[in-house]
Amino acid sequence: MTVKNKLILLSLISLLVVGFPSKSNTQRTSGSTKAVVTFEEVPGKVSGIGWVHNNAHSPERFLPETVGAGCAFLDFDNDGWMDIFLVNSGPSDFYSPTTSLKNALYRNNHNGSFTDVTDQAGLAGGRFGMGVAVADYDGDGWQDLYLTNYGPNVLYRNNGNGTFTEVTDKVGVATQGWSTCAVWFDYDNDGKLDLFVSSFVYFDKSQHLLCVDKTMTQNYYCIPRIFKPRPSYLFHNNGNGSFTDVSKESGIAASPGKSFGAVATDVNNDGLLDLFVANDTVPNFLFINKGGGKFEEIGLEAAVAYSETGKPRSGMGVDATDYDGDGWQDLFVANIDQEFFSLYRNQRDLTFTDEPGEIGPATQLLSGWGLKFFDYDDDGDPDLLLVNGHPDDLVEMKTSRVKYKEPLLLFENSGAGFKNVSAQSGKVFAKQFSGRGMAVGDFDNDGDLDVLISNNGEAPLLLRNEGGNRNNWLGLQLVATKSNPAAVGALITWQAGGVKRSRLKTAGGSYLASHDPREILGLGSGTTVDPVQIRWPSGRIDKLTNLPINRYTRVVEGQGIANLTTTK
């Protein structure tokens, strides 16, 4: 059933808010919408994050070594503060770690530091991890974790007491082979979170090939072109704690790919969530949700599958947003060096044109993985952060231009396109990383979005947003009652400072990562926000007035404001 077909309930809700004031109240400068915002590294000594990714690097250079890993902001203990999860490698058919490798769950201490609670939580893992997707799949109010692996994936159910239980086989979301991204979204609008899992190539130790350049004496990481594509998975949530594999009947399995990033969004505004999937060396997929549990792949027709000369590129990270404010979701995909990244502008008829603007020349020599549209300066429009790193650690032996470790890039949405503001956005942008996953979240609850980056074979990077909250903001925690628990597909519309804006709550995006589920609406220098309208995936529309700004507000579908139980 589509949104259009549903009864639309409109409720005007008066608000009672108990939130926590932000430190931004003391930092804000009146009317300042263009003050410099920077991202500052939070050192491990301060954050307490001492964990380092092990990429299992070997002389043979098995492909999974260079692909991982992911990371997430999540609130696993429902204390209102973003915790951190980091994915690690582990034993596999080509790798036997000499020491025990663990994922990491860091609990937020509410003071800028974190405590490692991995073992207590039972999330150490023990597989060759890739990515993580966080959501409350069973609607019990607690965030669960789905970990993708090179090897069988794992679903951890949150027990609500700081511990997790593996339920993969029990609930029916087991997979074969090598998975990368996973996305929780409700494709049939039944109020339950379904699960898309992107598959990478057919690969195991027996299929490993030694790729040796004629000018080199060492193996390099093989380009995935030589491996066969695999179909991805779609699991339907039955609502009784179990899932059904609907990959075939939905049409998803009919398009085998070499999939990395995936994002669920609604590109044709029909109220049904579609999927954009980046593929490496084969065409990208745009799966249009036709309703009735069916998807149709239209990447070619939509002109988002290939380069302008019909060449499949090395798609990795993806995201979706309405960057130009026309009410239609645009798409982004990062590729490998020399291929340029693509910003696909929605032409409102299921076709797209690639209009990267300033992003084009800036990304010519880069290989992009984690990426996210988010409003880092709270001015109301989505900006873009790109995390880069070449997959081949020997690339510098082949060319002097392309580097293995690459810089981050930050683009500000100027209203007329994206402007590269990396140089003035903090010292971290002058550094190079082997970046992979990237999650966005407000870990210090100050009203501006911070960033977590997982680096291949290195320590993660936690970046604190300094100054984004000089602008006014409104934080929303959407609590669904009828819609899916993550409120994926909700459309939030707000007006501040005379400007009307909207945001679709998408799912997935970036690379191997999961993000803060809350929404921060940037108000710029606007001091009021009226009204805020939420069109829930169920079709219900809640209109909220007199919302207090510069604090988080919990909005319950059809009920209005609920008290927040935590304060800073």
Binding site: L300, E301, G310, F340, D349, T351, E355, P356
Partner: protein, 445 residues
Amino acid sequence: MIACAVLTLTLHSTSAQGDTYTKRLERAATLIVENRLDEAEKQLVSLLRVAPNRAAALDLLGTVRAKQGRLDEAGTLFKRAIRADNQLIGAHLNLAYLYLLKGMPEKTALELKEVLRLDPDNADASYKLAWLLLSQARLDECISLIEKLQQSRPLTVPMLIVLGDAHVKKGNIDQAEKAYLAISEQSQNADALLGMARVSQSRRNLNAALEYLQRAKEFLADSPDRLYKFAAAAFGLNLNDDAIWALRRAIKIRPDEPSYYLVLGIVQLALKNPDLQDAEESFRECLKRQPGNAQARLHLGYVLLKQKKYPDAQVWLEKSIQKQTRSPEAFYYLGLIAQEQNENEKAIELFQKAIQLEPAFAYAHIALGAVHLKLKNYTRAQQELEIGVKINPQSSKAHYNLAILYARLKDPQRAQEEMRIIEKLKSEGKTQENEVDTLAPAAPR
């Protein structure tokens, strides 16, 4: 170059004059050769103070000015010398070289012809004029000049090379071979071997061409001209690494020659994995030395376009059109920029202009088709794309756009067929990744 001519020609022509004057003039010439320009200048100014219209002194002072980089003053002095003595060959020759230095080939040729009128046996002027005509692609004039000379005396090796090169450029492969073989009988000459490489290449005898090229490599020594010719021949044989090696060496020896950078950039673009930044640098270096070089402007615009640096690319392409108003490539590239910037109507106009200038410009048709596809003018898109494919069946861009078109027209079978063509072209190594290169000017041969 100018100073040497002065020594040989001016002194000869002044020998009949008074001893003191001649000695002072000789002294000034020696000082010029020793690069003691201030002293030479004093000597000559002193001479001219007494006799302001002494042609030889004016000619020598012009030489001093030329060596001081004061080219306009030098030109005025050479002209005054000629007015004072129209028979003064040295002054004509110096003026010719000065014009060459200032990038005025027409005037150079006129002066060289004047030298030959005064002294038909002047080997230096003959050679320089033949070389100049060749470099200006005035091939018939060049060949006629040399053949006329040949009637009176045997041709020198350099002249035979110019003759051979002119015949190659004109497509007279047999005559070119004859000229080169005449040299080979005299000596192992790198230019002749390079010429033979091009003759063999023209005859599609690639093994022979490669062999000549390899033999020539041994005799290149440190001659930038030869290195340049070697690079051009190597480029023609797709030996791009060799071409880059030779050009870099030529640049090291003669860093001020703009054409070396231009060709280097072109070769860098032709690499299997083109290094766009390197090519950009090369074109910029060329333009530093020769700001008005239209080809360098066009190529720089193109390479910036390839890097999606559209505003900068647009500036250079528009500059190239100022010099070459009928360049279909420039209009095509500007059209691509307009298309990328969503200025679709402007893009259509520019592609149509490119097609008007070159009706068989496949990529302009394809790009025009792509804009119509973007604008959902599917009938027009199909027309243009099909014209493009007809002219160039190996264009993956055309097949790709047709695939999108058929997919949108709900003809998935034909869409897949187009994609299969791309796959096939790719597997056969026939796809043209850098399709916008197609009409780009080739390296000078």
